[in-house]
C-alpha cells in the first residue's frame, strides 16, 4: 500500500526482496555502500559523513551515531568490536525483527562499514533467541556474504577484513542496555555496570566497542550512498531521517510504519494508523514502551522527534506505540508496565530492585480500591527518587509510565482513590454490575451464564445480582440482549 505519509529508509527493502538471496539484495544496490567506503573513503570520511547526516541511535537514547563511532575510532587498540544490538525487548515493538528477517544483508553491510570506520575487524550480533527465523536468515546471509568475499578476509580484494558472529540473548529485557548486553556477551550475568567508561573506550572484553541498534544500522548503507545532505534534509532540526514505529493497541491499522521524524502524532494515528476502531474515542498513546510515557489529544499536533517526546515526559524509545481508547484505565496501564519492569529489573541496584516492586504494590492497592491520597504522594516521590538514583537506563526510566499518567490523568487516579471508582470500567474490584429494572425482561440468560450463580429471579421477572457473591467477570453483561445490565 502506497502511503504518502510514509517514507521507508530503514525498511526500504523489507518485503520487497528475497531475504534469503544475496543476489536479490545486490540487485537493489546492496553492498555498494561498503564498496564505496572501501574504494573511495577513508575511515575518517565515513565518520564525518555519519556525523553530518545527523543519524541518532534508534534504540532509545538517541545518541549521535557518528559521534559514537568517532569516540571508538579515537582509542588505539589491537582489537575493536562492532556490536549490533538485536535484543529487541519492548512489549509491542518488532521493527528490528522485521529488518533482520526481511533484509539481513543490510545490517551486515552496515556493521562492516562501522568496522571500517572505527578500525575494527570483529562484529557480533546479539540477538534474542526468541527470533529463530531472524537467526536462520542472518546465518545464511553471513555465509552468503563470506562466499562472495563481502565479509571475511580481504573484503572485495582490499586489506580490510571483517567477520561477524552471532550471540544469543536469553530473553532478559535489561540486556538491551548496552553494558548489560556486553556483560551477557562475555558470558556473565546480564547486568549493567556504571558508565563511564563507555563501551566506545572499554566495552566487549574491555576493547573499544560500538553498540548500534538494528534500525540504526539499517539506515547506514542508504546514507552512504545518498549522502549526508539527503538524510539530514529529512526530519526536524535535531532529529534527522525517519523512524520506524510499531503501532498497536486500539488502532485500525496495526503494524509497522516508517515516517519522517517530525510527523505529527495525529498523522500517525489517524492517517497512517486509520484511527480508533469501533468509533471509540482516542485517549492516549504510550510511546517508548515501558520506559516511555503517555501522550494525549493535547499532544496530537506535536511533531514526533527525540526532543519533543522528552519535553512531553515521554521518549522515543525503540518506537513502540500503544494506542489506548476510552475503555482503557490509565492506572491499570501504568500497573501493566510496572508489572513488566518489576519482572525485568536485573536486581542489581536497590532503587530498581525494590522500588519497582513497591511502585507496583501501590498501584495495585489503588486499582483494588484501597489506595489513599497519601499513596499518590508516595508514588510521586518514590518515582522521582528512583529516576534519580537507579544505575542504568532501565531503572531511570521505569517510573515514567507512572509519572506521565499521573500528570496527564490525575483525575483518574483521584477517582480510584477518593471515589473508589474506575472511570474506564477496567478495575474489576471497583466495578458494580447491576440490572436495570426497566429493561430486564426476565429472560434468565444472565442467571444461566453466571459462573457463580449469583443472579436470581424467576422467568419473566426482573433479575437481581448478589453484589457480595459477584466476581465481576462480566459474562452477564456480554450475554444480555436487552442492555439491561450495566457496569459502573
Amino acid at each position: 500500500m502506497v502511503d504518502k505519509n510514509q517514507l521507508r529508509i530503514a525498511t526500504r527493502n523489507t518485503g520487497f526482496i528475497d531475504p534469503e538471496s544475496v543476489e536479490s539484495y545486490i540487485a537493489v544496490g546492496g553492498y555498494q555502500a561498503l564498496g564505496k567506503c572501501l574504494a573511495e573513503m577513508k575511515p575518517a570520511d565515513v565518520i564525518d559523513l555519519m556525523k553530518n547526516s545527523g543519524l541518532r541511535g534508534r534504540g532509545g537514547a538517541g545518541f549521535p551515531t557518528g559521534v559514537k563511532w568517532g569516540f571508538a575510532a579515537k582509542y588505539a587498540s589491537d582489537t575493536k568490536y562492532v556490536v549490533c544490538n538485536a535484543d529487541e525487548g519492548d512489549p509491542g515493538a518488532f521493527m528490528d525483527r522485521a529488518v533482520l528477517e526481511g533484509d539481513p544483508h543490510n545490517v551486515l553491510e552496515a556493521m562492516a562499514i562501522g568496522g571500517y570506520a572505527i578500525g575494527g575487524n570483529k562484529g557480533t550480533i546479539y540477538i534474542r533467541a526468541e527470533y529463530p527465523l531472524a537467526i536462520a536468515r542472518l546465518k545464511l546471509a553471513i555465509q552468503q556474504a563470506k562466499d562472495m568475499g563481502l565479509l571475511g578476509d580481504n573484503i572485495m580484494g582490499t586489506d580490510f577484513s571483517f567477520d561477524i558472529e552471532l550471540k544469543y540473548g536469553a530473553g532478559a529485557f535489561v540486556c538491551g542496555e548496552e553494558t548489560a548486553l556486553i556483560a551477557s556477551m562475555e558470558g556473565n550475568r546480564g547486568e549493567p555496570y556504571t558508565k563511564p567508561p563507555f563501551p566506545a573506550e572499554a566495552g566487549y572484553w574491555d576493547k573499544p566497542t560500538i553498540v548500534n541498534n538494528v534500525e540504526t544500522l539499517a539506515n547506514i548503507p542508504a546514507i552512504i550512498m545518498k549522502g549526508a545532505d539527503w538524510f539530514s534534509g529529512i526530519g526536524t532540526e535535531t532529529s534527522k531521517g525517519t523512524k520506524v514505529f510499531c503501532i498497536c493497541g486500539k488502532i485500525n491499522n496495526v503494524g509497522l510504519i516508517e515516517v519522517p521524524m517530525g510527523t505529527s502524532l495525529k498523522t500517525v494515528i489517524y492517517d497512517v494508523g486509520g484511527g480508533i476502531p469501533d468509533g471509540k474515542e482516542f485517549k492516549a498513546v504510550q510511546t517508548g514502551g515501558p520506559s516511555g510515557g503517555a501522550l494525549t489529544y493535547k499532544d496530537l499536533d506535536a511533531p514526533i522527534d527525540y526532543e519533543n517526546l522528552v519535553a512531553r515526559q515521554s521518549m522515543m524509545g525503540s518506537g513502540g506505540m500503544i494506542v489506548m481508547d476510552e475503555d482503557d484505565c490509565m492506572v491499570a496501564v501504568a500497573k501493566f508496565f510496572l508489572d513488566f519492569t518489576m519482572d525485568e529489573t536485573c536486581g542489581k541496584c536497590t532503587p530498581c530492585r525494590i522500588g519497582s516492586k513497591r511502585i507496583y504494590e501501590i498501584l495495585d492497592k489503588i486499582t483494588i480500591g484501597q489506595g489513599t491520597e497519601a499513596d499518590l504522594e508516595k508514588l510521586r516521590s518514590l518515582s522521582h527518587n528512583i529516576k534519580d538514583t537507579a544505575l542504568c537506563g532501565l531503572g531511570q526510566t521505569m517510573p515514567n509510565p507512572v509519572l506521565s499518567t499521573m500528570r496527564v490523568f490525575e483525575d483518574e487516579y483521584r477517582a480510584h482513590v477518593i471515589d473508589k471508582k474506575c472511570p474506564a470500567g477496567v478495575c474489576a474490584d471497583l466495578l458494580e454490575f447491576t440490572v436495570v429494572e426497566e429493561k430486564c425482561v426476565g429472560c434468565t440468560l444472565c442467571a444461566r451464564v453466571c459462573p457463580v450463580n449469583c443472579i436470581s429471579g424467576k422467568p419473566k421477572e426482573v433479575h437481581v445480582i448478589d453484589q457480595a457473591a459477584c466476581i465481576k467477570c462480566g459474562a452477564c453483561l456480554d450475554k444480555c440482549k436487552f442492555d439491561a445490565i450495566i457496569k459502573q
Partner: protein, 354 residues
C-alpha cells in the same frame, strides 16, 4: 599522573586522574556514606555501585552519581549534602528497610550493622514503603557460618570477595527482579557448593545476613580488639582477636601487607584452641612414665643434654630437626641455624614440604 581539580561542597580539591569522588571527598574530610563499596577493589570501575547510598549531585549531570564508582573529571562541581541527595539516600534506605526484618533487638550484628548505622544517621525508624518481603529459610548448612537471606541487602560484597579475591567462586547472583539474591550453584545450600569456608564473605557482609557460628553470644560493643599476626602459617596475615571477658570469641581480618583484609578458614575460625582447657601452656617432661609440668629452663636443659649425648655417642647426623609452618620466617631461620650450627647437621626440614 595528571592532577585534576574539582569542587566538593564549595571546597576545591586536587586529586590524581582516576580518583573517585569518594576518595576526593575523604581527602577534605567530607563523609559520604557507603554500604556496598569494597575497599579491597582498587579501581573505581570494579565497584558494583549497587546500593546507591553514596549518590551525589554533579553539576550538569541529569542523574545522581555513585561517589564510589565515579571517577573525577577536571572542573567537576559536586554537592554531597543537597536536599536532593539527602532525599535520594533516604528513599534508598526506606526501600532497603522495607525488605529487611526489624529484629535489631536480637540480631547479633546490631552495633556493627551498616544498615542500622545509616538508618540512625538519616533518622529512619520504619519504612515509608512497606510491602511484601522476601522469605527465605535460614541456611545453616555450613560448619562455620549461617546465611540468612532475609537480611541480605544485595550489596554484592560477598560475591565480589568470593569471586575476585578468594577466587573460589562459590556464589553468584541468581534470579531477577525483587527476588535477586546471592546463590550457591543451583540455589542449593552452602554445603552443596564449592565454598571453602574462608569466611571472607562473612567478614565483608555489612548486615546480619552472614554471621559466624559462635559458641559465645556477643555484641560488637562487648568485645575488645587485639591486633595480632595469625599463628597458623608463615604468610603473616594481620587480624584482630575479638575478646569478651578475656576470652577470644571471634576474629576479624585486618588490612596487612600480606593479606589485604583476607583470611583463610584457619585464621578466621580456628581460634577455639586459644581458650581450650587441653591447650599446652608449659613444657611437659616425662618422669617415671608420666608427663609432668616443667619450667622452660628445665626443658631447654634436658634438650641440650640429650642433643649433646646423642652427638657424642652416634655422631652429628644422628640428629635431625623438623620445624613447623605455624612459626614465623624468623623463627624458622633461627631453628635451621640451631640445627646446622649447633647440632652440626644438615638434617633439617619443614612440615610444609611434606
Amino acid at each position: 599522573m595528571s592532577m585534576l581539580t574539582i569542587t566538593i561542597d564549595g571546597q576545591a580539591v586536587e586529586m590524581p586522574a582516576g580518583s573517585t569522588i569518594l576518595a576526593a571527598a575523604k581527602k577534605v574530610g567530607i563523609d559520604i556514606p557507603t554500604l556496598c563499596q569494597l575497599d579491597m577493589e582498587k579501581q573505581f570501575n570494579q565497584q558494583s555501585a549497587a546500593c546507591r547510598i553514596c549518590v551525589v549531585e554533579i553539576e550538569k549531570r541529569r542523574n545522581l552519581a555513585p561517589a564510589c564508582a565515579t571517577s573525577i573529571m577536571d572542573g567537576m562541581v559536586i554537592k554531597t549534602d543537597s536536599q536532593r541527595v539527602i532525599e535520594a539516600r533516604k528513599t534508598v534506605l526506606h526501600l532497603m528497610l522495607s525488605d529487611h526484618p526489624l529484629d535489631c533487638l536480637t540480631c547479633e550484628k546490631a552495633g556493627a550493622c551498616k544498615l542500622q548505622d545509616l538508618c540512625y544517621q538519616y533518622g529512619i525508624e520504619v519504612s515509608d514503603y512497606p510491602g511484601l518481603r522476601n522469605d527465605y529459610p535460614l541456611d545453616a548448612s555450613n560448619e562455620f557460618y549461617t546465611r540468612d537471606l532475609n537480611k541480605c541487602v544485595a550489596c554484592r560484597r560477598c560475591v565480589q570477595v568470593c569471586t575476585n579475591f578468594q577466587s573460589t567462586k562459590a556464589i553468584a547472583f541468581g534470579d531477577r527482579g525483587f527476588t535477586t539474591h546471592p546463590v550457591a550453584p543451583f540455589d542449593k545450600g552452602m554445603s552443596d557448593s564449592t565454598c571453602v569456608s574462608c569466611g571472607n564473605c562473612v567478614s565483608v557482609c555489612p548486615v546480619g545476613a552472614l554471621l559466624s557460628k559462635s559458641k559465645e553470644k556477643f555484641r560488637s560493643w562487648e568485645v575488645s580488639k587485639v591486633k595480632t599476626t595469625c599463628s597458623y602459617c608463615g604468610v603473616g596475615c594481620q587480624m584482630n582477636l575479638l575478646a569478651k571477658e578475656n576470652k577470644v570469641v571471634g576474629v576479624e581480618p585486618m588490612d596487612g601487607a600480606s593479606n589485604s583484609s583476607l583470611l583463610c578458614v584457619k585464621g578466621k575460625y580456628g581460634f577455639n584452641f586459644i581458650n581450650h582447657p587441653d591447650r599446652l601452656k608449659t613444657p611437659l617432661i616425662r618422669k617415671n612414665g608420666e608427663l609432668v609440668e616443667a619450667t622452660w629452663d628445665e626443658a631447654y636443659g634436658l634438650i641440650a643434654d640429650k642433643v649433646k649425648a646423642t652427638k657424642a655417642e652416634y655422631g652429628n647426623d644422628a640428629l635431625a630437626g623438623l620445624t613447623s609452618a605455624r612459626v614465623t620466617n624468623e623463627e624458622n631461620y633461627l631453628f635451621q641455624k640451631l640445627v646446622r650450627a649447633g647440632f652440626g647437621t644438615n638434617n633439617v626440614d619443614h612440615c610444609a614440604r611434606l
